[in-house]
């Protein structure tokens, strides 16, 4: 993998949160390239900076130092408006426990995502077809409170992919799931990452689910590195 082929490039990213005495370095000189079709898992304990990594990669916040390049554009110097547009057009988020919108049925979650992105679905990736891909066709008319945790995550994954993003950012997708369901969800993420050719970063503290991932990194105190032998 050459550097030029990466869909998402973080170089020497530092992010400090809070002010004064309470200031913490959430990300400390983080460098990470993710290529299209690659699922990178980032393992780390709570508070190690995993969500911060996704926030920076997803254009939710700008880093204090370093650069975040997606499709040749540096998010570190983008305006708020440009960041929102980047999130609409290039990023798919999968949140902890789905974070679906309570009022919307499964299929409407996807339609709404398209609407926000200002996109029309292409024929091969309609909301209905995507729900079928994640095994949720039969539940298309159900609202989140009528779905199980695993089902919500499946809808969440379909919602993130329906806008055809180039970057998929996944925040602790298995936090609320049992072991078998967790493995299924990560396997689904891997399958769709390869199928859609999207650059995926999944952060988790769950060592059990990393088998399906193409690459596993570890985050400790805001520093990103190789996984140590013990895991």
């Amino acid at each position: 993998m050459t550097r030029g082929s990466a869909a998402l490039e973080l170089a020497h990213v530092t992010l400090r949160l809070g002010d004064g005495d309470a200031q913490v370095t959430a990300l400390d000189d983080v460098t990470l390239d993710v290529t299209p079709g690659e699922l990178v898992a980032v393992l780390g304990p709570s508070g190690s900076g995993k969500s911060s990594l996704l926030a920076v990669a997803g254009g939710l916040t700008r880093p204090d130092e370093g650069s975040v390049r997606v499709g040749g554009v540096d998010l570190a110097t983008a305006s708020r408006r440009e960041l929102a547009r980047y999130r609409r057009e290039q990023v798919g988020f999968v949140f902890q426990s789905g974070n679906l919108i309570p009022a919307l049925t499964a299929v409407d979650q996807l339609r709404f995502a398209l609407r926000i992105a200002g996109r029309r679905a292409d024929a091969a990736h309609t909301p209905e077809l995507l729900l079928e891909r994640v095994g949720m066709s039969a539940r298309a008319g159900h609202r989140p409170h009528q779905l199980s945790g695993g089902e919500r995550q499946r809808v969440g994954i379909a919602r993130a992919l329906v806008t055809r993003p180039s970057v998929l950012l996944v925040d602790e997708p298995t936090a609320a799931l049992d072991r078998a369901r967790s493995r299924e969800i990560v396997a689904l993420l891997a399958q769709e990452t390869h199928e859609f050719g999207v650059a995926t970063v999944m952060v988790t503290h769950d060592h059990d689910v990393i088998g399906a991932c193409d690459r596993v990194l570890e985050m400790v105190d805001g520093k990103l590195g190789q996984v140590h032998a013990h895991s």
Binding site: L60, T61, A84, R88, I101, I116, A117, R143
Partner: protein, 382 residues
């Protein structure tokens, strides 16, 4: 309104509750508006229907007692008639009297009357729908308000005034409601008014000056011309009030209308606050999902518009329900003895104001959406 419409269905319990409050406020506003119009009609419809631009009262009368205290002379009427821009100037007499009306069947009913004394040949003399116009040759002939005719007083009936015993005869009736200070108007020839006003009954002597006195100078401006009240008042020694301003001289008018307007104003404010509070809570409840939508790239502008559109749907529906209920209830009240009259313009204005102020309240609450940090979408319930 993709999200807003679906939320309306999903949270219909919440929205119905708020809608019910708005509908009740709309109902109340319609009833108040009807009461307001009814009271205005009862108070000043007799003045409203006069073809008059302004009244010139005696120089040092206060507005609230102008019609009962003011006395002007025919000289002052003549001074005003010479003013530029004045098409017509005539003496106008106003007096509240009690009496009793006796019909052909011998039945006698007590009546309270506002006597409007006008020269029979002047522009002030009204056109009856039935019977004859005022006639200076028939000083006892009066033309009465349609509302008095509705109470059974007929042409040919006799009205005897209490205490002084003046006998008047109904010669004509008017089509519409002509009331002043909540009592029915009866037009009388000015000469008769002058006697009644001076307290002179049949055969009583009358002061010489009383023959050339009236309450005020009634003025009609020329088409397209403006009266110059200051110049006219200087010349005639009067104080001019526009027709509208003169309503304040009708008994109780200012107190009634200002009380009702105050209540109505409070209702608008309450409605806007209720809706503002509802949408504030609604926004706070949804802040996590709103953060998710913002993280997905949804702009604050889009979400604010969606929320305001949602509010508009609830407001328009609820106001419509409340107004319809108000119109239904109003139709019942209008048939009763209450001063109640529904008119399209004030009801429409009230409904529009309710919707508009509600939208303002919702918009003020929705501004919060712009302060939601999309970053909070990540992680747990942080």
């Amino acid at each position: 309104m993709f999200l807003g419409a679906r939320e309306l269905l999903f949270a219909r319990g919440h929205f119905s509750l708020m809608g019910a409050v708005v509908a009740l406020i709309a109902l109340l506003v319609v009833l108040l508006s009807g009461l307001s119009t009814g009271l205005v009609n009862d108070g000043v419809s007799g003045l409203q229907r006069l073809p008059v631009t302004a009244f010139a009262f005696d120089d040092d009368t206060k507005t609230d007692s102008a019609f009962s205290r003011s006395v002007v002379s025919f000289d002052q009427v003549a001074d005003w008639a010479d003013q530029p821009g004045v098409a017509e100037a005539a003496p106008f007499g106003n007096a509240l009297v009690n009496g009793s009306a006796t019909g052909g069947d011998g039945r006698t009913v007590p009546v309270d009357l506002a006597l409007f004394g006008v020269p029979a040949g002047s522009f002030l003399a009204p056109e009856p729908v039935e019977g004859n116009r005022l006639d200076d040759g028939d000083p006892a002939g009066i033309v009465i308000s349609g509302t008095l005719a509705d109470q059974g007083v007929r042409i040919g009936d006799t009205v005897v005034l209490d205490r002084i015993g003046t006998e008047l005869t109904v010669v004509g009736t008017l089509a519409e409601q002509h009331t002043y200070g909540h009592v029915d108007v009866a037009y009388v020839p000015l000469a008769t008014w002058q006697e009644v006003h001076a307290g002179a009954g049949p055969g009583d002597p009358l002061r010489e000056e009383a023959r050339s006195e009236a309450t005020a100078v009634a003025l009609l401006a020329e088409d397209g011309a403006q009266l110059d009240p200051a110049a006219g008042d200087d010349a005639a020694g009067t104080r001019t009030l526009t027709l509208e301003e003169s309503f304040g001289a009708s008994p109780g008018y200012t107190a009634e209308t200002s009380t009702l307007n105050l209540i109505e104003g409070f209702l608008y404010v309450i409605s806007a606050l209720v809706i503002g509070a509802f949408f504030t809570v609604w926004t706070i409840n949804r802040r996590h999902e709103l953060a998710v939508i913002r993280a997905m790239g949804g702009t604050a502008g889009y979400l604010v518009r969606d929320t305001v559109a949602q509010a508009a749907v609830v407001l328009v529906l609820a106001t419509a329900v409340g107004v319809l209920a108000g119109l239904g209830l109003g139709a019942l009240l209008a048939g009763s003895s209450m001063p109640f009259a529904l008119e399209a313009a004030p009801v429409a204005t009230a409904a529009a104001l309710l919707v508009l102020l509600g939208l303002l309240g919702a918009a003020a609450a929705a501004v919060r959406i712009a302060r939601i940090d999309p970053l909070t979408a990540l992680g747990g319930q942080r």
